[in-house]
């Protein structure tokens, strides 16, 4: 039809709200596109960005975080066709949009559902409330590059955590395109950092990083990789979500497990008296 030469997109990393190439200068070929091949240094840069974003994001009001997650759903809806063009099933794209909406609503409800007033046997006001764990490393599901990705990222960040995500190695394009959605949704830079490349190369650095507080191994489907990452995570006692024992139906009700896995419960004791 046209004799116009198309402008191709460069698929880069998403770190600290910016789109850098891998510092290593490497890339790998996916669906005729060169995709950045992240390195150990990229992992470290992403962790620094994620840590820097913790204070602002966890300190934002729950109402504000909920609005931003809802905004992500709005932006994703607007790019629906683009994801279908990347090969995503329409039902998966729709479910991914709806998942952002679902988690958006949890921002100001999880503390009410997961926190408690404790009737201690003494004159104390005693309250337990959830707080974000901090920086969460995420090995995203390799086989569900958009819906699976959204399903692991949204529950981690809605409560105030920040994440470093290792995107699906074989199908990274939806992750990079999702980064463009995130970058235009008022999500502060550094809350979500997305690295493309080889999980076997970057995963061990992320799992062993001493400034990462938790790791989600949902996408580490190879048993020996998952075991070695969990073992490395023990160095600073990261909270670990193991890969599911059975294949995950990403269209099913997600439940609260992925929210509560990255929450710490703080109990405050305060005397009552006049």
């Amino acid at each position: 039809m046209s004799d116009r030469l198309a402008v191709r997109k460069t698929y880069k990393l998403y770190v600290g709200g910016k789109f850098p190439r891998s510092e290593s200068g490497r890339s790998y070929l996916v669906q005729d596109s060169n995709v950045a091949l992240a390195s150990r240094k990229d992992v470290r840069d992403a962790v620094v960005a994620a840590r820097a974003a913790v204070k602002g994001w966890s300190g934002a009001t729950a109402y504000n975080r909920g609005q931003i997650l809802y905004r992500i759903a709005e932006m994703l809806e607007g790019r629906r066709d683009q994801f279908i063009g990347l090969g995503e099933a329409p039902a998966d794209v729709d479910a991914a949009i709806d998942r952002w909406v679902w988690y958006a609503g949890w921002s100001d409800k999880i503390a009410q559902v997961y926190g408690n007033a404790n009737p201690v046997a003494g004159p104390y006001f005693n309250l337990s409330a959830p707080e974000p764990t901090g920086v969460v490393g995420v090995v995203a599901p390799p086989d569900s590059p958009l819906l699976g990705l959204v399903s692991v990222v949204a529950p981690a960040i809605v409560t105030g955590n920040t994440v470093v995500v290792l995107a699906s190695e074989g199908q990274p394009l939806p992750a990079v395109t999702l980064a463009e959605v995130l970058a235009t949704s008022d999500l502060p830079g550094g809350v979500v950092n997305i690295l493309t490349g080889r999980v076997e190369e970057t995963g061990p650095w992320l799992a062993a990083h001493m400034d990462v507080n938790a790791i989600d191994l949902t996408g580490a489907l190879e048993a020996e990789l998952a075991r070695s990452l969990e073992e490395a995570a023990a160095d600073n006692l990261k909270r670990v979500v193991r890969p599911s024992a059975t294949p995950i139906d990403w269209h099913a009700d997600p439940g609260l497990g992925r929210l509560t896995a990255f929450l710490e419960t703080k109990t405050v004791w305060h005397p009552k008296g006049v």
């Binding site: 559902v113 997961y114 408690n116 404790n118 009737p119 201690v120 046997a121 003494g122 104390y124 005693n126 337990s128 764990t133 507080n213 048993a223 020996e224 998952a226 075991r227 070695s228 969990e230 073992e231 995570a233 023990a234 160095d235 600073n236 006692l237 909270r239 193991r242 024992a245 497990g257 509560t260 710490e264 419960t265 703080k266 109990t267 405050v268 004791w269 305060h270 005397p271």
Partner: protein
């Protein structure tokens, strides 16, 4: 200090046998390896206990598995509740015996075992008993399932209380347990086994295997264990986290701490000093959530220190069974060594050591209450858990600096805040990265209040509704 007449609690209520076996499948079995447990206040040998071998741990896990599949998982919540209530009642009825035995084996003052540990043990069983038939209302779905067989390893600082924290929620949720008490404090767990028999608890629901690190390792790495719960040091916790990597075992860890106890210039100083003393000298400082770093606002530093030293001079160190005793014996020679070593390091790194004049008994393991002043954040005594009656004192000027210093640790178990200003308490509580924050109080515990750490103090919560999660398949 004026003299008190001795007021010793009689130990005649306790009948310590010369030798104990393992409690497996509701029966006592002789262990292959045997070791001695001593009274740390006198170094007197109290009894011989078994140190369970791998094969013996295996048979205990087997008994727990059979009891889980054939009996306990088929016992209704209502019936499980009644067993737990029954156990709670027997603990109350035999509370004097338990308290005296705990003080003899552990070295803690009878005033504490009698007034804190044992009442909390009974309260814990009462609290979780009530959950057993209400699990569908706990927020984990309509009919949450138990995990299976729990392998539980507990420390020596609160032997019976840690047993209660582990066993009560596990049984309430429908799991069976194999519990390993610490090698220096096995006796109250063995008495608890008798209580299980007295309560007619079905055989195999609770199994007690005594022993040291090898026994614990055999237990947590046993493939028949579905759930591992550990309270103890961060190093051992790390090793356990590595050992369960790649398995489907559920894991909760309650590890070390280096809590900041923060005193602002508007705090009621006398109350704060009581809180500081309670925070670090309660249970000889053998407390994972001890307030071992005192952060004092500069403007009241002199006043707080003078008052603290005055108060410390009144602390009575000595016979754990004497009802006047404030500070008992250090639990073991090994722990005493560690406390001495770290204290020597504190002095050699440039901090100033002070203890009140204090005569210590000739036999047994003792360490005088001690404070270090002039401590910086880089000093090892400000970074490492000493687990003894040793307080490191630092100062701060602004609330932001207090938060910064309090959080400057890999641990995150607890923190204390002393101020008259309510809004400041809440501001501080929001920013302290710790699982428990005590405002104008310290070292308070309750079965309804979740307890557990941030960061390298471990994960999971014990106590409260949250404490159920560790023992449910959710």
């Amino acid at each position: 200090m004026f003299e008190y007449a001795p007021a010793p609690e009689s130990r005649s209520i306790v009948d310590i046998k010369p030798s104990y076996g393992l409690f497996v499948n509701g029966e006592w079995v002789d262990g292959e390896n045997r070791n001695k447990t001593v009274n740390p206040a006198t170094e007197e040998v109290l009894a011989e206990v078994a140190w369970a071998t791998e094969a013996e741990v295996d048979s205990a896990v087997g008994a727990a598995r059979t009891a889980y599949e054939k009996v306990w998982s088929r016992t209704s919540g209502r019936e499980r509740a009644k067993y737990l209530y029954r156990i709670a009642r027997i603990i109350q009825e035999r509370s004097r015996e338990l308290a005296v035995l705990e003080s003899i084996d552990n070295g803690k003052p009878i005033r504490e075992s009698r007034d804190v540990d044992v009442p909390l043990v009974a309260a814990h069983f009462f609290y979780y008993a009530g959950w057993a038939d209400k699990l569908g209302y706990a927020g984990f779905g309509p009919s949450p399932r138990p995990v299976g067989v729990a392998g539980q390893v507990i420390p020596w600082n609160f032997p019976l209380l840690m047993l209660a924290w582990k066993i009560a929620p596990a049984l309430a949720c429908g799991n069976t347990v194999v519990l390993k008490p610490a090698e220096t404090t096995p006796l109250t767990a063995l008495l608890f086994a008798e209580i299980c028999q007295e309560a007619d608890l079905p055989p195999g629901v609770v199994n007690i295997v005594t022993g040291a690190g090898d026994t614990g390792h055999a237990l947590v790495s046993h493939p028949g264990v579905d759930k591992v719960a550990f309270t103890g040091s961060t190093d051992v916790g790390r090793a356990i986290a590595r050992a369960v990597a790649g398995t489907r075992k559920k894991l909760t860890l309650e590890l070390g701490g280096k809590a900041a106890n923060i005193v602002f210039d508007d705090a009621p100083i006398d109350q704060a000093v009581e809180g500081i003393v309670n925070g670090i000298f309660f249970n000889q400082g053998h407390v994972c959530c001890a307030g071992s770093r005192l952060l004092v606002q500069e403007s009241v530093y002199d006043e707080v220190l003078a008052s603290l030293k005055r108060r410390m001079a009144l602390l009575r160190v000595g016979d754990p069974l004497d009802k006047n005793t404030d500070i008992g014996a250090i639990n073991s020679a090994a722990q005493l060594d560690r406390i001495r070593t770290l204290s020597e390091i504190g002095a050699s790194e440039g901090a100033t050591q002070w203890s009140p004049p204090c005569s210590l008994p000739d036999r047994g393991f003792w360490f005088a209450p001690t404070i270090f002043t002039g401590v910086t954040q880089a000093h090892r005594i400000a970074r490492e858990e000493i687990f003894g009656p040793v307080l490191s004192v630092l100062t701060f000027r602004t609330p932001a600096e207090a938060v910064e210093k309090a959080n400057n640790t890999p641990y995150g178990l607890s923190a204390g805040v002393w101020t008259d200003k309510g809004s400041r308490i809440l501001w501080m509580a929001d920013r302290l990265r710790a699982g428990v924050v005590w405002a104008n109080t310290f070292n308070k515990f309750d079965p309804t209040a979740p307890f557990g750490g941030y960061k390298e103090s471990g994960y999971g919560r014990e106590g409260g509704r949250h404490g159920l999660e560790a023992y449910l398949d959710v």
